[in-house]
Symmetry: C3
Subunit: 272 residues, 3 copies
């Protein structure tokens, strides 16, 4: 079965302006908000236990990123994820640097119990979450996406969720089929929190998708596709990682469903 | 009575470099600091209860924004607002997404007791604060500034403060007269925390203004005017919301009192 | 004794990609992460007491900045600094606005007990830390680097550490010799948290340096040198403080060891 062209997902997102509740790290907050706005979604960053769950109930999607987490944020994450699950609101887990400390491993294990719709991470983090190895030194990945393929499929299968792995080639899997996306640019790892922004973007796409497994797979693929394509275009205008940042937001803003359908280098494999 | 041309306010701000104590949200902190610096003010972001009030006593103005608030920040907000009132230091309240949760409504009701000099918000937030309606879904406004005019005047009258409403046309009112400002650009809502930065900027202008109602009205009008004019100029150089951000800071940096006097589309109405 | 040319430090940094644990303020987090990435280091921002010390043990260097500190961050700072000292991991203290409140003075006095490798600050902050005077109004400096020279040397001598003072002319001292660096641009104080980013950058250079006093002096000088040179280059391309920011990151990204050796205006004085 061929993947439906991802443009229709972007079309829907731009028409519906999904409200995306982000409980994310301090480094990514501004950047992720601007990424969502550039694309046509509506971001809201708030985390206090006094309101996190109440707000999730209003949102179209939830994105949780543990980058600079502390116990007060963790409580808000749990409340929000619990409400998301209860309301069948899609939610994304971004397990930043999960391999680095015992606190992160424990927190992620707990958050996984709330059944995320998607885990979006780099290869090292997926290896760690899947239980296969992990030295993990901070937020940077030291494993390749290829090494991570088996781990991603196993994790998706075990958690009954989607897994999206960012790398030189991105991969998205539901445990059975796997989409590979080429694009982006080698400069992107030299800019902070683009991965966090991708997690929030995937939440936005999930927030306007049907609840069928196929639609959700398409939605996540479209999110990765937007980043791959906007990354390429931004790199063509950037003199370095500094000028890449505004160029990337501009590229997301100008991305059209047609461009996504025409230019995205997407490949889908079935089974193992 | 015609409004005095707003250029003199900018002139005073640039000459005096007011120290602006900002207790703001995590998304806006960097952006608001850069906005204040570009314009010629001196920002300071700190919030801990151990020092918030002590620092407010040193500052020329205070700006409180509840975007990513939690109880620890709220305590600092209360202490700072209390000291501001005691020292007759002007302070601005930015009630982000006040309609979204009970926690926000309660917090804003409490903060209003410290008598803000200005409430700066979008139309939905003003409608909510005034007690007139509010669905409120996050930080985005769903009501037009025109719908909000009555609410703004009623709120200004009840709180005996200035109210500034950002929108396609901005309005500033003290409950009797209302200034309307045209300018800015349709792209501005696609960039995060510009409104938060405007609240901090209004605090900066209030920090160097006389304490007369007229001077404070002028000060807030000048702040909105700077954003309207810098927004227009930035949009002329921007290829999208990403490149708008640096262009906007550049435009604020180069804004002159003369340009503000000459080019600002400002209109003042008296009474209801 | 002449200073070794600073290019070799940059060469080492780019080859080794040091992991820099940053416990810094909310305003600086994104900017400092991008600065470290542009230069070729690997940033990690996290602060919770549940993991701060554990993570420091993995890192090549630690940078602590008290800008938006609160008690929960302070606990993480203490744990991290304690571990850094125990593991002989170099660490940098950036005592933002130490003169402004009693809370900051007390916190810095406590952090100094963990023996920082470098104190990086502006002249006002160094004057305050050294015990010589201090009006201190926020993060901006009101004393000149020249006024601060004696204070810096006294502080370096008392704390047995390096002291780096940012200003129109930067100075770095170990209490005996002093390096002066010219460069940068008058626009740099109009951009927020560049100083914080310099502290993190100095940590990165220290993280790949030998532990000899000479190598550490060289490392800090190289960090200041990168900022001076990248600042000059960025200013040549910037239309204002907004466009300076991406231009500065681009300049850091393209900085070569050769450029640093050839173009840096560096002068070293010995003794008092």
């Amino acid at each position: 079965m061929a993947l439906r062209p991802p443009g229709h997902c972007l079309d829907t997102l731009q028409a519906q302006t999904p409200l995306v509740h982000c409980i994310t790290n301090f480094v990514a907050m501004n950047s992720s908000a601007n990424i969502l706005l550039a694309l046509g979604a509506s971001p809201a960053m708030l985390h206090a236990r006094e309101e996190a769950g109440e707000f999730t109930a209003l949102a179209n999607a939830l994105s949780i990123n543990i980058g600079t987490v502390s116990p007060d944020f963790a409580v808000g994450m749990h409340d929000a994820a619990r409400i998301a699950r209860k309301h069948h609101t899609p939610w994304v887990l971004d397990p930043v640097a999960v391999g680095a400390t015992a606190y992160r491993r424990r927190l992620c294990a707990e958050l996984l119990e709330h059944a995320p719709t998607l885990i979006r991470a780099n290869a090292s983090e997926i290896l760690c979450l899947s239980g296969m190895a992990s030295p993990g030194r901070g937020a940077d990945s030291t494993a390749s996406p290829h090494e991570a393929r088996d781990a991603a499929m196993a994790l998706a299968d075990r958690q009954r969720c989607l897994v999206g792995v960012s790398g030189e080639v991105d991969l998205i899997t539901d445990g059975r089929r796997t989409a590979y996306i080429r694009g982006g640019h080698a400069m992107m790892p030299r800019i902070t929190t683009l991965g966090c922004g991708l997690s929030a973007t995937a939440a936005a796409f999930l927030g306007v998708a049907d609840t069928t497994p196929e639609s959700r797979f398409d939605a996540v693929t479209a999110a990765f596709g937007c980043f791959a394509l906007a990354g390429e275009r931004a790199a063509a205008h950037a003199a370095g990682p500094g000028s890449f940042i505004p160029a990337f937001l501009d590229a997301l803003y100008h991305l059209s469903p047609e461009a996504l359908n025409t230019h995205l280098a997407l490949e889908v494999h079935h089974g193992l």
